[in-house]
């Protein structure tokens, strides 16, 4: 196997890593908002269900969850392919961490804002969408940035349920060539570059969110 072939194979793996990371981060973000909002704004039942989800997901190791979905779930009759298993496991995991960020962000909005909205007789949905979230999202962005990188790093675990991501390819090439130092150094650099890209993207989004919030603020006077 020539070096060019190695790099090509690893590039394919990196592509899979990127797909898994982007997919699970997006689904995770949806879960984060759903459960985070349920935690703060939901009734007692919803809030409790969200709490159980969040605490359980944050209390169990990701690898145990992935193995459970991969090996144990089929025994109860639900068989998912490895790719879906990986995305589901990662999303459920990062969604719980994100939900805590959303909860913290929503709770950090000054009480006066809620009171003012209430005094103006805004409906609850309106208050949440137009008053609380635009302000809270700005506070959430730095933490979301960290979670996105965390999730990217976590995608390496899907190689253990036979998804051909960067780590999986690295293992294959290492087993063929026995050149562990070279292969794993390239892999580490690959993840590092991807992390830097994610960090840059999240910083860009943070600036956008900050500007958006300022704009909304001035528009509403």
């Amino acid at each position: 196997m020539s070096l060019a072939q190695e790099i090509l194979a690893m590039a394919k793996g990196a592509e899979m890593t990127a797909i898994v990371a982007i997919g699970s981060t997006l689904i995770g973000a949806v879960l984060a908002f759903a459960f985070g909002i349920a935690r703060v704004e939901g009734g007692r039942l919803l809030s409790w269900l969200a709490l159980i989800y969040i605490e359980f997901m944050r209390g169990t190791p990701l690898l145990v969850k992935l193995f459970w979905l991969y090996y144990a779930l089929p025994l109860v009759g639900v068989s998912l392919d490895p790719f879906t298993t990986g995305i589901v496991g990662l999303s459920l995991n990062i969604g719980a961490y994100g939900a805590e960020v959303v909860r913290g962000g929503l709770q950090s909005v000054a009480t006066a804002q809620r009171e003012a909205a209430r005094a103006l007789n805004f409906p609850r949905r309106h208050t949440l969408l137009h008053i609380l979230l635009p302000q809270a999202v700005v506070e959430m962005m730095p933490a979301f940035g960290n979670l996105a990188i965390q999730n990217l790093k976590d995608t390496a675990l899907v190689s253990l349920i036979s998804i051909a991501d960067l780590t999986f390819r690295a293992q294959q090439i290492r087993n063929l060539t026995l050149a562990g130092a070279r292969v794993y150094s390239m892999t580490l650099v690959g993840y590092f570059v991807m992390s830097l890209l994610v960090a840059a993207l999240m910083r860009f989004l943070e600036i956008r969110a900050r500007r958006g919030a300022a704009f909304a603020h001035s528009a509403h006077g």
Binding site: E55, F56, R58, G59, T60, P61, L62, L63, V64, K65, F67, W68, Y71, A72, L75, V76, I149, K153, D154, T155, A156, L157, S159, L160, T167, A170, Q171, R174, G180, A181, Y184, S185, T187, L188, Y191, F192, S195, L196, A199
Partner: protein, 230 residues
């Protein structure tokens, strides 16, 4: 049969009860890995923090880059790196030791940041006063800075200790016989993964909750203003 314990698959409950002793042996390995990994992280992180503060620019910068690199790459790949590459250079370590090193290395990037935050949060005036009083560097650290920094460092360190505990199952990939590995082995032999893996999935939240409670208690005992080192 593993470790002399046979399982009883006659009913789900009997099965669960019969494999608990095996998982308990794995749990001990998990805890050992987490505790020693955290000690490595505490020491390495302190070294990174000190190297980053040196006056020699090249050292400070390269340490900062290294720490960023460690933080931004997956534990699993770092583990593979240590596990497969070290023996090529004549360093042959038991799998558990390699795993502990990988865990410690990954988390040292986080603890370095905690040290920076904790020591940085000690008010400037405290340093200035200590220097004005002509205290030696050793005494400044021992009597002024460290006692005030420790209560600020504790909560973040506690959180990282808990998350490190949750990352130990990754070590099973390099043949460490932790709880997850044993659960998988039981599954391989009985063709019944649901109960062993679910048990592991229940034991972890129990452990992390216990750890969190313990850390909260510890934080309560530590006075907020600082601790005396004498």
């Amino acid at each position: 049969m593993i470790y002399g314990y046979a399982w009883d698959t006659s009913s789900p409950l009997a099965y669960a009860v019969s494999i608990l002793p095996i998982l308990a042996i794995g749990l001990v390995v998990t805890l050992k890995a987490a505790v020693s990994g955290f000690v490595v992280a505490l020491v390495l992180g302190l070294i990174w923090y000190l190297l980053r503060r040196t006056r020699i620019r090249a050292v400070a910068w390269s340490t900062a880059l290294l720490v960023e690199f460690i933080r931004d790459t997956p534990l699993l790949v770092q583990l593979f790196f240590l596990y497969y590459v070290l023996p090529d250079y004549g360093v042959v370590l038991p799998a558990l030791v390699t795993g502990v090193l990988a865990l410690g290395l990954q988390y040292s990037a986080y603890t370095a940041e905690v040290y920076r935050g904790g020591f940085g949060a000690v008010p400037r005036g405290q340093w200035e006063a200590a220097i004005a009083l002509n205290l030696s560097r050793y005494r400044i650290y021992r009597d002024i800075v460290i006692p005030q920094a420790v209560p600020r460092i504790m909560p973040a360190m506690g959180n990282y200790a808990v998350s490190m505990l949750k990352e130990t199952p990754v070590l099973s990939v390099v043949t460490v016989l932790d709880m997850l590995n044993l659960a998988n082995m039981i599954g391989d032999r009985t063709f019944e993964y649901l109960i062993p893996l679910s048990l592991v999935g229940v034991i972890f939240p129990i452990m992390t909750t216990l750890c969190s409670v313990g850390i909260h208690l510890l934080e309560r005992i530590l006075p907020r203003d600082g601790i005396a080192l004498r």
